[in-house]
Amino acid sequence: MRTGRSLQKKEGKGEALNQPPAAALRPGAPSDLELMEGIQREDSEALSHLYDRYNGILKALVLRVIHNEAEADDLLQEIFMEIWNQAKNFSAQRGKPLGWMVTLARRRAIDGLRKKQAYARAEERLQHETEQQPDAWVHNSTEEEILDGDRRILIRRVIGILPPAQQQAIELAFFRGMSQREIAAKTNTPLGTVKTRLELGLKKIYDGLKELRNEL
């Protein structure tokens, strides 16, 4: 259970959502942008650093989409190769490196899922997981985790505020690559309701993340 005291401690750490993960916060560590610029100059050392920093996050994302450990590893390798090959298309004016990498990884994972025709198998696995854990995003944080200052907990807290139907719509769109029509068909919900759920849910998360950045 969260307490005001633990929350104060957490906020006191000054962790910001728009900062890179802890590993990158070491003094003198290159920023994500510097690493991307390095990759644009074909500096393989920069790719090596970027891999160390983000392989865990990107693997988790891919795994969430395809639900297969070996395929996730193969895709992860392809994703970082694509980061290397496509780095020249990255522009800092269009967003941060992590957003670009997540977009690329998500697209590859969803493409991979479709190509390998594993959709049905993943459906079954997801269904099984969903039955065991009705809302994958809802996470009962332990006191220890909160005190750890894990940014993940803060983000989950923002997402967790949403009604389950909005979370489900976003989950299906982002992690399953479903269009609004597909979500409507899958959940047997009118298309207009799906649109409203997605719009309201995403706006709440967007505003929540903004608020979090302002608070910290």
Binding site: L47, G56, I57, V102, A173, F174
Partner: protein, 78 residues
Amino acid sequence: MSFEEFQNRARLFVVGALDPDEMAEFEGARREFGEKAEAFIAECYSLSEAFALSLKPAKASDQIKTRLMEMVKNRQAH
């Protein structure tokens, strides 16, 4: 399309939830709003970052990095 409506669509766009028929309209509005639209879309990527960061990091096989760096080395050699 009002800018508020564009903002709603932009959030859907970054999470890949725009239906194909909405995409053309969105792209039109994107051109119309110009830099203001691009700045907002860039901000919206915080959503996809957040969804990825909400997951517990997964450990990749140790061989992946070795293979990746070998591929890069080969690419540079040619």
